[in-house]
Structure formats: structure tokens, C-alpha cells
Symmetry: C2
Subunit: 428 residues, 2 copies
């Protein structure tokens, strides 16, 4: 029986989960896949973590060189996160002829080119299913199932922390800050939540997924990004009345005028399959020109779901002799021939705090008309705020981004409007 | 650039869709996958169909031997359906050294063993993603993504015709026969709908999917099967009041007492992700011991969605040199060591037509108690039928199949009960 030696770099949540899956299922893999997968080494500064998992002390490597020179190690799992030292370690392993399985979206998104060059040069595999959407098989679906399609668009809920926070805000009517604290207590959000709540994590993943979908490098720096920190629960409530759920969506489109990539809070119709994706669940909704709509749904994070993706890659790597590399020109930057759309089209939800006197609506409507924005729905709520203003809410028809920017600017300058309190895109 | 010659056996809906995708995307595949895929031959009795698609007359083969001996053909797409002559043709092609991509669930489910032996012997690939759930990437997910899990259960809506019919019955309150006629007119149901509405098609697909999930051959003959032809719209309406949607579910479980496989109409809670899968959409909800819940959703049929799966397999076959075969002992029959559970556990919905007099409920309740069935909910409707009976509806707690069979028998024998009008399983 083929023996497969694995080394794990980092025994955090995902590293520990991977170790548990591999050791608990070792007999099953022998039986079902005819391979004997053994964890031969780990690299972890905190050796207590390794010992607590039951790893023999002699398997705890002192440094990356011990892993690279260990002839029993065939595949290295990198689950440290962050760019350095993960990047140097992965390159060291590839140059030592070890295949690499990584869950590191930031690393793969920023350095896929350099890592792939090293992998190809050394005839090693480089696998990264675990980098996006945990155990949900979206990367392989794009590589091996939907590759006959021209992918027209993808919309994803690809960050569990923000989806958990928005779901709780919606269900409980609580404020962002309150829910964030609770999420941190429960381990759904980090002590420093910036990467998640400001949408960086989602841009890394969207960079990887849209590059695969559109067959060209989409650097994360090209992705428009807006987080959820300014979301007020009152807008979630108003949105419900219009039949919308609020989600942090990662959107990629490949249209006639170019590629459009963006991460921002979005209202989506309650009847859309993504609207029902709640708590820390994730989903990617992909539209191809042949396959039409496909949605892949599941746990986007966690020790075992992400471990499942890593172990899937390990078994794939161990049972396939020819490794697959990205077939598009995988440079660090976008290809000069790729056109990006900045001034994208969207419908909008706008909430204004206006003085409660006649003529305000007429004035605002005139501004919309001037900016070529057509209003689909309007409500004026009776509830008067402490400052004496009343909320005026508009849902627009699809328009261009810069029309809205202009209108918001003009409306802000109206003396009857105290504040443009919320501007949220409505997607369909 | 690598040239890949394709032959298509059968130019029905899926064959025509596959041809269209391949020809329309030829330049895209050259650019994105560095392969030039050309349709070199077709086999179709009705040559008008081929000519209408724009296929040159010299590419229309007279018989399978012309395809087998054509050196330009590398991959044969079998989309004829049915067992013969598809089976002989596929074997001929494999023996001639051609890899085969098939959408034929009946063929693959019944003869996967014989076909795989032939494929291995001749170093050919045998691909069948299109056999289950159209363009939804469920087969590759089981083979290449979730293979590190012990799959605990799968529940699927894997037949588009029945899901369309049940969705319409539910939305419009129409009778089965009426909706079937409409579905036939629209092309969602065949003139002879038996394979779909009686659940045969779903058992073929469940046989394939559960064999992959549970790593052992699950013959379709081992699958409990019940179609939707006896479903009355009144039960769909009552189900709604209890918060349930009615779906034809294909269920596979791998528990401590063995493997359980079944296809039958099922009530499922409205909040379950499968409950929102409507019309001709399909979905498979898989639970693994590491990945937890994953759902794959999309079009389960149709020219282009199924064509998408076929073209995905063609590109995979053309870009991978080592083919993958089933790793479990893939015999025609189940392994003697596989234990199947017949007397499975389920909650139940029962509707009785009872005479409207006191004491009926007490009598029925006594029977339930005798049969060790615990009742979760009961409603007695006021509406009196033409025969003077009133409907009594019970939802039971989870119990064993044979307890319910016994109870139904005993209740039928009560003089106060005109009829046990419906017995529908409730899954969770």
C-alpha cells in the first residue's frame, strides 16, 4: 500500500482539525483509497499544542529545514495564515520537492504566481481548496466541473464572521457593536476583527475565485471593498419591509464591458437562494452560460469543515500523478488586456434624514431626475428622530455608480436634509 | 496545441446541447485550456438532426465501427440513454481505446462494474458526472472533495420532473394529473412519465451517488422506491399548515446498523435548505463527519446544464493523464458484507377519513400506543367529505417503519375509519 507522509505547519484551529481527521480516519483511507496517510511531522512553536493532540515529541520539528529534509514527508499542509513566514516556508518545501496543500487565502491570493512557478519547476502539486469557503467544493468545481462554461457572474457569501453578525443583527434587532462583542466571545470573530468586518478576507477569496472563473488574474487590489462596520440595524429592518435580506456579498461579473469585482453590503431579495444562507454558513452562487445557476453551500470555516477541504486535497494529491496548474497567465498583476469596470451598475437603497416639511420630496426627486436616477419605491416613515427629522427611504432602479455618488453629494447639500444616513446597493 | 477529437452518440436534447457548447466555445477552450476540441463524428439515426445542427455530412457515422476505427476520435460522448444499444456501443469504444463520457444513469448504475473493467483494461477514462443532477458538480465533489469524510447521509431532490410537478401542485393547488399534463405539454415530463414519476430515475441516480458516498456498491434494486402518482394535493395543503414542503427525496444513510437507501415522497420542514428547491431545480444535501452540511444546487436537467457536465468531463479527460476508477470493489451486486437497513426509522404524516363521532380518536390513539408510536401532533378538520367522513391528521414522532405498517393495518380495520387516505414520511 502506498504510504503518504504529511507534515503540518501550524497547529491552530485548522491544523488541529486536519490532524484529528487524518488520524481518526487513517484506517478508512487505507480501505477506501488504498493509501496509508500518516502525519510524520509538525511545525508549531507552542509544542504544548502538539503534545495535547497526542503527537509524539520526536515528530515536532524544530524548524522548516527539518521538514524539508525529512524523506518521509511527501505533502506539507500550510495552515499558519498570513504572508510571512508562511510564504518562505511554502517555497522552501516546494523547492525540496514536497507538494503543498494550503488554506492560506492571503498568501495564495497575493503570491499565486510565485508559488506556482516554484511548484511547476519542482514537479510538485499546489492545492488550495481550503483557502476559500471552507469545506464547500468551490475551487474544484471551477477547475474541474464548470470549466466548459463562460462564467457570467458569481455572487458569494464567503465570510462567516460577517454573515454571523448580519444574521444576528437581523434576527435580534441588535446593534453591530453589540453583536460583534458577542461574536468575539463565541469565537466567531477575532479579537482584531478588521480583516473580516472590513471585507479584506472576502476580497482575498474573491480574487482567487474570480481569477479561476474568468481565466485571468484578478488581483485583490482591483476589488472594490466596503465592510459592514457602518451598517445600522435600522436599515436591516427597513430592508425587510421591502422584502430584502442584507448580506456582505462578494460579486464578480464578466460582461461585455469588462470584469467587475466588488465586496460590499448588499440587499438581496428574500426569494433568492443566497438570502437564506444564515449564521456562519457560506455559499457561492455561480451563473455560467451553459450550466445556468449553480449554488454551493456549506460551512465556510471551522476546524473540521476546513480540515475536510485540506484532507480532500491531500488524498487528491496522493492519488493523482499529474498536477494541475492554472492555465491562464498567472502573473502577479492583472493582464494589461483585462478591462475592469469601475462605474458599475446597481440598484440602490438610500435613507435620508429629512426635515418634516412639505417640498422635501419634490426637491430630492428633482435631484434624482437630474442625475438620471429612476426611483422604484419610496417610503416616508412617521417616526420622528430626536433631531426632529423623519426618515425618507428610496429604492432606485438600476443606475450607474457615479450617478448615485453625484446625487448623494447634491442631496447632502440640501438644507432640508440633515444627513444621507445610508447608501446600500441592491443586487438581483 | 493538443487536439482532442470528440464523437457524440445520439443527438437528442443533451447531445445537441453538448454539440452547441463545444462548437460555440472552441476558441475559448483553446485560449483557456490550451486544447483544441473538435467534434469529429456523430452517430444519429436521424441524420436530419445532425444536418440541422450544421454538422458536415461526412461526419455522420453510419455505425459504431466507423467511430471506433476513426483515429481522430479520442473521446466518445454517449447520450443515447437506455441500456441497449448504448452498453454495446460504450464497450466497443472502450475496447477501441476511446475514453467515454456518459450521461446515462441507467447504464452506469446497472453496469458500472463491466464498464469500468473494460475502461481499466484498455487504459481509457470513463466519466459520468452528467449522469446525476445535470450540471451540479456532485459526483466530482464526492470523488475529489469530500473523500476525506465518512459521509453520514445524503438527501437529494434529484429528479426535475417530479420536483416541477410537486412545486406546481403546491403553488397552484392543482391535482397531480392536471399538472402532469401541463408538464408534458411544456416538455418537463415525457409522454410515458413512468421512469420519473414512479421514482425509477431517482433510484438509478441514488445508486450511483450512494455507492460513491459510502464506498461500496449500492445496487438500485436495494433502494426502497415509492413514486408521486398517489399524492393528493390536499395532503400538500395540510402539510403546509404543519410547516412542511412535500418533495420526492432520495435518501441515503450510513449509520451504525447499516446502509439505508430510499426514494419516496417526504415532508420536510420549510426551514430546511432543500424545502426551497423548487420547479425543475435539483439539489443534494450531504452531511459528512468533518465537513458537516454541504448543499449543491442547480439545474438537474436540460440541454445546456447537462451539456455543461459533459463538456466538463471532456476537458478533464483531455487534461488529465491518469484516469480515476472507483476504489471500492465495484461488483454488479452489493458486497456480502454490506448490511442494509429495511425497517428504517422515520416520523410520519397520516391522514384518516373517519366517521364524525366521538371515540374515534381514542380508538386510533390506542392503536398507536399498541404499535409503540408516539403522536407529536394531531388535527381534526371540520370539513366533512361527500361520504360523511372527516379528516383526522397525525404527525408521529420518529418510529420504525414496521410499527407504522402494523398501525395502518389495524386502523384500516376499524369500522369508524373509512380509509387511511395518506401515509407520508416526515424527514428532518
Amino acid at each position: 500500500m502506498k504510504k503518504v507522509g504529511v507534515a503540518i505547519l501550524g497547529l491552530g484551529v485548522v491544523g488541529g482539525g486536519t490532524y484529528r481527521i487524518l488520524t481518526e480516519h487513517r484506517e478508512m483511507y487505507k480501505k477506501c483509497h488504498k493509501i496509508d496517510i500518516a502525519v510524520e511531522a509538525v511545525l508549531e512553536r507552542n509544542s504544548e499544542k502538539a503534545l495535547a493532540l497526542g503527537i509524539e515529541p520526536e515528530k515536532i520539528a524544530k524548524n522548516i529545514q527539518e521538514i524539508c529534509s525529512n524523506p518521509d514527508v511527501d505533502i506539507v499542509v500550510e495552515v499558519m495564515g498570513g504572508v510571512e513566514p508562511a510564504k518562505s516556508f511554502v517555497l522552501d518545501c516546494l523547492y525540496a520537492g514536497k507538494s503543498v496543500v494550503t488554506s492560506n487565502k492571503e498568501l495564495f491570493c497575493k503570491y499565486s504566481h510565485e508559488l506556482e512557478v516554484a511548484a511547476k519547476k519542482n514537479h510538485c502539486g499546489l492545492f488550495y481548496e481550503a483557502s476559500c469557503v471552507g469545506g464547500v467544493p468551490v475551487i474544484r468545481a471551477l477547475l474541474d466541473n464548470l470549466q466548459g462554461n463562460k462564467i457570467l457572474s458569481m455572487m458569494g457569501i464567503i465570510n462567516g464572521t460577517t454573515n454571523y453578525i448580519l444574521t444576528k443583527m437581523s434576527a435580534e434587532g441588535s446593534d453591530y457593536k453589540e453583536v460583534l462583542k458577542e461574536a468575539q466571545k463565541l469565537g466567531y470573530a477575532e479579537a482584531n476583527p478588521t480583516a473580516d468586518v472590513e471585507g479584506y478576507d472576502a476580497t482575498y477569496k474573491l480574487s482567487i475565485l474570480s481569477s479561476l472563473a474568468f481565466h485571468t488574474k484578478i488581483p485583490y487590489t482591483k476589488i472594490y471593498r466596503e465592510g459592514i462596520t457602518d451598517i445600522e440595524v435600522t436599515d436591516i429592518e427597513y430592508g425587510k419591509k421591502f422584502g430584502y435580506a442584507l448580506k456582505l456579498l462578494a460579486i464578480g461579473k464578466n460582461g461585455e464591458s469588462g470584469i467587475e469585482v466588488r465586496v460590499h453590503p448588499s440587499f438581496i431579495k428574500n426569494t433568492h437562494p443566497l438570502a437564506g444562507v444564515n449564521d456562519s454558513y457560506n455559499a457561492v452562487f455561480i451563473t455560467g452560460d451553459s450550466v445556468e445557476d449553480v449554488m454551493l453551500y456549506g460551512r465556510g470555516a471551522g476546524a473540521l469543515p476546513t480540515g475536510s477541504a485540506i484532507v480532500g486535497d491531500i488524498i487528491y494529491c496522493a492519488t493523482h500523478s499529474n498536477y494541475q496548474y492554472l492555465t491562464f497567465e498567472n502573473t502577479e498583476d492583472a493582464s494589461p488586456s483585462t478591462k475592469f469596470v469601475d462605474n458599475f451598475e446597481s440598484a440602490y437603497y438610500l435613507r435620508l434624514n429629512a426635515t418634516d416639511r412639505s417640498g422635501v420630496l419634490a426637491k430630492v426627486a428633482a435631484i434624482f431626475a437630474k442625475c438620471k436616477i429612476s426611483v422604484a419605491q419610496m417610503t416616508q416613515e412617521n417616526s420622528r428622530a430626536a433631531d426632529g427629522t423623519v426618515p425618507l427611504i428610496f429604492i432606485t432602479h438600476v443606475t450607474r455608480e457615479n450617478n448615485v455618488t453625484k446625487a448623494v453629494q447634491m442631496i447632502s447639500e440640501c438644507e432640508e436634509v440633515a444627513k444621507v444616513a445610508a447608501v446600500i446597493r441592491v443586487v438581483s
